[in-house]
């Protein structure tokens, strides 16, 4: 990431498409990337043509193309969210054990996931609300969390009730320990490393206001 990108900030919070566009700008050309179900899927719409970014879908494909429409819809060709998709030149199909071996073995450069909560140590909670009557369903979330070389989370920074989702300790059941490298939110972007949590971008909020609303030490990396 170049310094100009690192220090960028805006006067207003980002919408989810803006977040997706920012994540897309931070994905290096030629990277192998898995986009989780939901908001992360939007990132695909913002990858520039010619970036050479190759999308992996854990149900057994590399070089997945955009969502299929009309007569391109093929029930044999879906993404991990079971949405019909398309195939790009240079695609490859493989079975589930090979697909997750690829993931678990650390071959994906980046995985982008949604989250309920991320902790200051990079713990991720995104699979279970902890509600006593919830039916647990994990899918590939835990494999993705620990498999990719870098895990980016996209989420709003606060719940509708105003509670922060970047927290000292996750209250929700964990998906993975210490696995998140970067958190993209409507109000700021955070890097999580052994040095702690750094704010690299702010959107419509000052670093000090952000620090006041989050219950953890923050490093200010918004200045170049």
């Amino acid at each position: 990431m170049n310094p100009a990108t690192r220090s960028s900030h805006t006067d207003a919070p980002l919408g989810k498409h803006d977040i997706a566009a920012l994540v897309a700008r931070h994905i290096p050309d030629g990277a192998f990337v898995n986009l989780g179900i939901g908001q992360p899927t939007l990132v695909a719409d913002h990858l520039p043509p010619g970036s050479g970014v190759v999308l992996h879908t854990e149900n057994g494909m590399l070089n997945m193309g955009p969502a299929a429409t009309g007569s391109d819809i093929d029930p044999d060709l879906t993404n991990a969210g079971k949405v019909p998709v398309t195939e790009l030149p240079g695609a490859a199909y493989f079975h589930h054990a090979d697909s997750f071996a690829m993931m678990r073995g650390g071959h994906l450069d980046i995985c982008v996931l949604g989250a309920y909560q991320v902790s200051a140590r990079g713990d991720l909670a995104n699979w279970h609300t902890g509600a006593p009557d919830a039916i647990p369903a994990v899918g590939g979330a835990m494999d993705l969390a620990i498999g990719a070389k870098q895990v980016f989370v996209v989420m709003t920074l606060f719940t509708k009730d105003g509670a922060p989702k970047l927290v000292k300790e996750c209250g929700y059941p964990l998906t993975g320990l210490g696995c998140v490298d970067r958190v993209y939110t409507d109000l700021a972007v955070f890097d999580i490393s052994s040095q702690g949590v750094s704010v690299t971008h702010t959107f419509g909020i000052t670093f000090d206001d952000l620090a006041a609303r989050l219950d953890m030490p923050l490093l200010d990396a918004t200045k170049p």
Binding site: H95, H96, S99, I135, G176
Partner: protein, 223 residues
Amino acid sequence: MSTQLCADADEAVAGVQDGSTVLIGGFGMAGMPVALIDALLRQGAGNLTVVSNNAGNGDTGLAALLAAGRVRKVICSFPRQADSWVFDELYRAGKVELEVVPQGSLAERIRAAGAGIGAFFCPTAVGTLLSEGKETRVIDGRTYVLEYPIKGDVALISAQRADRMGNLVYRKTARNFGPVMATAATTVIAQVREIVETGEIDPETVVTPSIYVDRVVQEGDAV
């Protein structure tokens, strides 16, 4: 031993015993062996443990098997979906057991059963609810959970094409769990869209060799 070509799905699922563990391929509807599941419903075996990625969609296939009370336990990665009402209701009523396994660990545990691996140390789910009570070990600085094989008595899978020997090829992401499940069950039953003469599948492109396949049935455009 040689692969049996079956006249219909009922013949293909004949003899499945009560209490069997049944591996069922598919990811959502892609690769789901619908005709075989329907035949298993007619066949009548009960008290089944079903291993599949999901726990049924809508009211057909695995959902119908569940609704008929044939399934004692489901081992899967993602039971809860928009259209998983049959499973949801049974589960909340305490009428079906559930073991949730991360999708990659599910695939690897099935592979381990097929590959003669006794157990393996897996980094997935460390420190989560899904590894509670499981043995852990730190290897080369990283923590792993010990996972055991999942073996089936029967596997029901769907493929694109078989030759008369039982070699299989799949189509696009409908491949998913089929090839690993085919290695991991005592009796492997495949529904295919097309059966061709032996020699018509390029040996370089065979995904599931005939050694793994016990019975094949052609079932129109079954998916």
